[in-house]
Symmetry: C2
Subunit: 402 residues, 2 copies
């Protein structure tokens, strides 16, 4: 079961679960092997906030995500390219994926900086229109207000210079509660943009993934998945976009269980921007291979640590003189280093940035262990038991949300 | 040449320079051996900003400083004591020293927090009186306005609970431009406080250092040094306080060269709060063994890196696409990790905290190498040449100041 398309890429399924559609596979890129299911830490601006690349590797992560919108605006694709591409620039020795920039162009591109008035309170950023038409997005940089145009072709060219192993096509992602006709229009345009992206020349050794839209309309999702899978030249992987954008979580799960396994089984399946540990378990069961989410890193910076016993909100007074680590069974540098909850709480309340790094290392290590455990269970024939046991551990009161 | 006083302490001079008064020694504490000359990174709130204890150890530091004022107010000596003292709390495996808290009580203790008004710009903190009399300081916490009293006895007791290897006596430090009678009064009171500190019971295995004052009045300094050295029970080391507090730098150097070597040679000599690489070289030559300063860590957080070729101000446009490390000969995690100046500049401009950790590691490594080089030169009989060569490297345009 292989489907190498871009040079140096391969995807090999090693095992599938008896119940559900979970699978363990290896994605080979020109620079690394990525065992799936995998979780990609988000390095928005060329850095997973608070961590060096060495730190990120220590959490077990095998592939990292960079945000094209941010890197395009600063430091710019030419600087990154001249420093050896994103992997050379960030000194990340494993695989890299970049998004297309469309999501942030839409959500951030309208937030223009506004000079602070001499007196009086600071003012909210000025919202300008982001225009979206058949050609692409026109937006203004949230850094300096400069006008930029992002088309399917530009997305491929900018990502080409940034130089990750895997590029994502530019797509149209409607809000989770959009009407069917809005979703249909987004799906059609995403397909037209998919053809334009595939027709754009990109550097050898970079893969390109297509993005399936369709919100929670199962028929639209399945039709779009088939359509994107049939395009030639072909995509190296297929992603599910437009989830976790406002729809109810049970609806997302139900749609994933009906849709994910219908994506071409010979290509990696990537669920974009999702999610919680529970989300990952459900989506793996539905047949997804790859994930990214800011949750573990953002929560860490908000003082929240994931443990087998639920969330630890480190600022709480109950940890005032707690000599134990976040999780006694955890082998991350924070827990294995013997840092007590009381010490972490002190650093957090004192505003010492080291605690943000330690909690980020812990949470990413936790996600790394989750997908490592999933891979081992799938390959060992115990996926259903692993999923049930881990879900039971994630008791309802410990539920964390993005 | 030994002078063990507190249990588990010893100080052994291994070599002295032919020119000047530089010396290489080993200070033994119950927990570690500290080779001198040594530089102590400042871990104000139980953390060298941006670094874990493991990070600090990686820079070659053998002893770390904690600020009693900050640790007393938050998390408090009882919490630290219950977590195994400051070394256990911070997981620092080597030696620790705490200051007395007097300096910060005086400089920060009057800055009361003030609620922000509903409208209009934030207001500067309200300055309240810090009272200083024969009994000690009365001040209010800059965190919550609570009133505290700091006496020579309280300083010993609080430091006793914090539990560093080395305590400092409470002293009186007048501004650098004070008149002779003001300095004389400070010296006399510091001596009376020294007797009170020595008479206060402290935990076994904690050393206590006395502090020599006298500003740049050489005769006052020498007389005070002799007086403190003669006290019984005796101090385990002698410090030079009241330098780098506003006096001209050449005057500080001249005073150090006349005074430092006159401090009891059988005890370690510690120059408090100083200084630049040049300051260290001059003071080592004058006979000083121990240093602390926030310069390398604070400058790092301001985007300044020390190199053999002068300061690197990382935000400068000249580093926009500079592929080289901060210093090609440096073996710190930042330089040896291959992080390019262009990458560090990008992270700094993007507000990514990882760059602050990397620059802090680099600067502390630089200080670690400076004192390591000094020790090797003194022991190898080449101190004068080492000092001259290193000073020449620190060309005037590269001068960094605290």
């Amino acid at each position: 079961m292989t489907a190498p398309r871009a040079k140096g890429f391969a995807f090999r399924v090693l095992a599938s679960s008896a119940s559900g559609h979970a699978r363990a596979a290896v994605l080979t890129t020109p620079h690394a092997e990525v065992e799936t299911p995998t979780f990609m830490p988000v390095g928005t601006q060329g850095s997973v906030k608070g961590l060096t690349s060495e730190d990120v590797a220590s959490t077990g992560a095998q592939i990292m995500l960079g945000n094209t919108y941010h890197l395009w605006l600063r430091p710019g694709p030419d600087v990154i390219s001249s420093l050896g591409g994103l992997r050379g620039f960030t000194r990340w020795p494993r695989a890299m994926l970049t998004d297309s920039g469309g999501f942030q162009a839409f959500s951030l591109g309208g937030n223009l900086p506004r000079p602070a008035p001499a007196n009086g309170p600071a003012q909210a950023p000025r919202k300008s229109l982001v225009t979206l038409d058949e050609e692409g997005f026109t937006f203004r940089s949230h850094l300096d207000g400069a006008r930029h145009h992002l088309s399917p072709e530009v997305a491929v060219r900018v990502q080409g210079k940034i130089g990750a192993d895997i590029q994502m096509q530019l797509d149209v992602c409607p809000p989770g509660d959009s009407a069917r006709d809005v979703v249909e229009a987004a799906v059609s345009r995403t397909t037209r943009w998919a053809r334009r992206a595939l027709a754009t020349e990109r550097p050898e050794g970079q893969a390109l993934f297509g993005i399936v839209q369709g919100a929670c309309f199962t028929d639209l999702r399945r039709a779009h998945a088939d359509e994107l899978a049939s395009l030639e030249p072909s995509f190296d992987g297929l992603a599910l976009g437009g989830f976790s954008v406002g729809e109810p979580i049970p609806k997302m799960y139900a749609t994933l269980h009906e849709v994910a396994h219908a994506l071409d089984p010979e290509r990696p399946r990537y669920l974009m921007g999702v999610g919680t540990p529970r989300d990952l378990l459900e989506a793996i069961d539905a047949g997804v291979d790859m994930f990214d989410c800011v949750l573990p890193t953002r929560n860490a910076r908000n003082g929240q640590a994931l443990t087998r016993f639920g969330r630890v909100i480190i600022k709480q007074a109950r940890y005032k003189d707690d000599a134990g680590p976040l999780d006694p069974a955890c082998t991350c540098p924070c827990c294995a280093g013997g840092y007590a909850r009381a010490y972490l709480r002190h650093l957090y309340l004192a505003g010492e940035m080291t605690v943000l790094r330690l909690l980020t290392l812990h949470n990413l290590h936790w996600y790394g262990e989750l997908v490592r455990g999933a891979r081992a269970a799938i390959r060992g024939g115990s996926w259903a038991a692993f999923k049930a046991r881990t879900l039971a551990d994630l008791a309802e009161e410990n539920r964390v949300t993005c």
